[in-house]
């Protein structure tokens, strides 16, 4: 009964209520979307690499190594020798090793030289393996496997011929014209930097760096049967290691760092990821503070709206008193009204966000590489909604206490 009365009362003051509602929807949407994007960014960040126990590269910072090996950002300061890779690969604690060689690009997308171990052992997300949406892994020197985004943006299909340039700019002066690669496979979308990578064999990387005359000679000779490992690289950028036992991570890390044969550094991707995320937490905190301030200001707006309505509601309160409503009822009437309004705002904001993330998801992924899940109904959102409701309840105490006092002192005077 009082619930439907609260609804009628809201409808009666629909203009001011509507404006308050809009301001609440906006602020709740901002808060929820910031929170959602933050959570999603963190998740997509943490899902870039999985099941890799150690990343080994030339000594620099652990962030630098993580950035170029996993995120394909920046470039390696120096390389490690091929001999080190074979040594690592043959260690008994090591289950598998993926060599990584960076430094070239194709139309703005990074080229990664690796071995077939990459497609077998590299995992992302929750230990998900790479899968091919079409084609297969490279088998010859001049075959390449491209990520989902590369294929989509550049309209490549299996069988397309691509040119790989030296250097990492989108436009390069020194195109390796003579060494066209053929797309042998396209990876399924992962939501990680893998989507933006062009993968070739290590021999392919070596081949494009040969002097033109040698390269031509190589291409002619290669027309016969030839395996991708034919051109042995002298050095690579980094190695990703999977271990037989997780227990040996620390000891192996220490012994790699102390290795005398080459200058090596081993990092644990999880630790490095956490450190990287720490760097971003500043931005994250500023965003959260801003959205909390917006929410607070619109909750105050709600309280002001209710307080200022108290004057015009004196009569309504007096009438309710006369027909037997206790002051407590009037208190809960204001509470019900505010919580009804905030609940409606939360629901509207959620639907709005759900729809906009659904509609804008493709654009965000394409332009910013942000993979935002349109499903915002998570535990996090639920907790946030409850917190918002609780704050609204708290701030509505002011007008509700006002109504209670008005009710206590309202008398039957006919002017109401």
């Amino acid at each position: 009964m009082m619930f439907s009365f609260a609804w009628d009362s809201i409808k009666n003051r629909r203009k001011s209520v509507f404006l308050t509602f809009i301001s609440l929807v906006i602020s709740i949407s901002v808060l929820m979307s910031v929170e959602h994007i933050r959570a999603q960014a963190k998740e997509s960040f943490n899902r870039t690499v999985s099941d890799v126990d150690l990343i080994v590269g030339a000594p620099s910072g652990q962030l630098n190594l993580l950035l170029y090996s996993v995120f394909r950002m920046g470039s390696p300061t120096s390389n490690i020798s091929w001999q080190s890779f074979t040594t690592l690969n043959e260690l008994e604690q090591v289950k598998w090793a993926i060599p990584i060689s960076l430094g070239d690009s194709h139309r703005g997308y990074r080229v990664l030289g690796t071995s077939s171990a990459y497609f077998e052992h590299f995992k992302y997300g929750n230990k998900q393996a790479l899968t091919f949406s079409s084609g297969q892994a490279f088998t010859t020197t001049f075959e390449t496997v491209i990520g989902a985004e590369v294929a989509k943006r550049l309209n490549y299909v299996v069988g397309s011929e691509i040119i790989i340039a030296h250097g990492i700019g989108a436009v390069s002066f020194k195109n390796h014209d003579q060494s066209p690669f053929v797309v042998s496979g396209i990876l399924a979308s992962t939501g990680t930097p893998v989507d933006k990578t062009v993968h070739v064999s290590l021999a392919g990387i070596e081949a494009i760096h040969l002097p033109p005359a040698q390269l031509r000679a190589f291409i002619n000779q290669q027309s016969s049967t030839q395996t991708p490992d034919a051109l042995k690289p002298s050095s690579i950028s980094a190695v990703m290691l999977g271990l037989e036992s997780k227990m040996s991570v620390f000891t192996l890390q220490r012994s790699i760092n102390n290795y005398q044969g080459d200058r090596l550094m081993a990092i644990m991707p999880g630790v490095a990821l956490a450190e990287l995320w720490q760097l971003m937490s500043m931005v994250e905190n500023i965003l959260i503070i801003i959205s909390i301030l917006i929410l607070v200001s619109s909750l105050i707006g709600l309280a002001v709206m209710l307080l200022s309505s108290m004057r015009e509601r004196r009569r309504e309160i007096a009438i309710l008193r006369v027909i037997g409503a206790r002051p407590r009822v009037l208190f809960s009437l204001i509470m019900t009204e505010a919580l009804l309004l905030v609940t409606a705002s939360i629901v509207t904001a959620l639907v709005l966000l759900n729809v906009s993330f659904f509609l804008l998801g493709g654009w965000l992924a394409a332009s910013y590489g942000l993979f935002i899940d349109a499903n915002i109904y998570t535990l996090n959102t639920l907790i946030l909604s409850i917190v918002v409701l609780a704050c609204a309840g708290l701030i509505t105490l002011f007008p509700a206490i006002d109504a209670y006092k008005t009710a206590l002192h309202s008398s039957l005077s006919s002017t109401g």
Binding site: M1, N12, R315, L320, V322, G324, V329, L412
Partner: protein, 240 residues
């Protein structure tokens, strides 16, 4: 001060309203009360016309009888209950159940329907909401209102219609006491006469004690029992 009728048999009937040495002052720091009633009784089912000029304290008296104001000293006994001694919650419950009030104007919440207005009163008075429409179907024709107006917002009705709906609302819980404050001041004389007849007929039908407050001497023709507030209020000096 006793305004009981002179019929002997009625003197045995139970009292609806009893005031003993009741005083009330708006400003507690003042020594003299604004309203003081030494002894006043109203029998059950009696219809009393309470006459008084504006500012004579009649609205204050109604507020006290409705339990919205509490006397500073003395006692108000309603239907045998020590009304002025009850806790605020019990007073509110008692009012909802036993007392109906009709004002000069602004009786209804304008933005909700007529039906909802009455249902709210029923809700607080403990009458089942399902029964409301049934009771109203019986009551509205007697008040010369069509049942079509039930779905209308109360604010859309004319003042006369609103006053009659206010009576229906005041009677929905079959109150024992009906307090009416200048209900006809916004009505023309023809409407006023119709209103008075309906009011008295309904009070008789429901065995309701009626306390009718007005400054209009013309209306006292409808009542056998008349009390002048100026005689009732023996507070020294200026009353409210």
């Amino acid at each position: 001060m006793d305004s009981t009728s002179d019929i002997k048999s009625k003197q045995q009937a139970e009292l609806a309203i009893k005031l003993e040495n009741m005083s009330y002052k708006y400003d507690k720091t003042r020594i003299k009360p604004d309203l003081f009633v030494a002894d006043w009784q109203v029998q059950a089912r009696q219809h009393v016309f309470l006459k008084g000029e504006s500012g004579s304290g009649k609205t204050t008296l109604l507020n006290l009888l409705a339990g919205v104001l509490v006397p500073n000293s003395g006692e108000i006994t309603l239907l045998g209950e020590p009304f002025s001694q009850l806790s605020p919650q019990k007073i509110d419950a008692f009012r909802a159940k036993h007392i109906g009030v009709v004002y000069q104007q602004f009786n209804l919440i304008p933005f909700v329907s007529v039906l909802k207005n009455v249902q709210l009163a029923a809700h607080f008075g403990g009458t089942c909401a399902d029964q409301v429409e049934h009771i109203l179907a019986d009551l509205l024709p007697k008040l010369a209102l069509s049942t079509d107006c039930l779905r209308q917002a109360a604010g859309e009705l004319s003042v006369g219609q609103q006053q009659r709906v206010a009576i229906a609302r005041a009677l929905i819980n079959h109150p024992d006491i009906l307090l009416v404050d200048e209900p006809t001041s916004a009505l023309d004389s023809a409407a006023r006469d119709a209103f008075m007849e309906v009011l008295l007929a309904l009070c008789n039908k429901f065995n309701t004690t009626l306390l009718f407050v007005s400054h209009d001497p013309q209306l006292q023709e409808y009542f056998k029992d008349r009390v002048n507030i100026a005689e009732l209020n023996t507070a020294q000096g200026d009353a409210i």
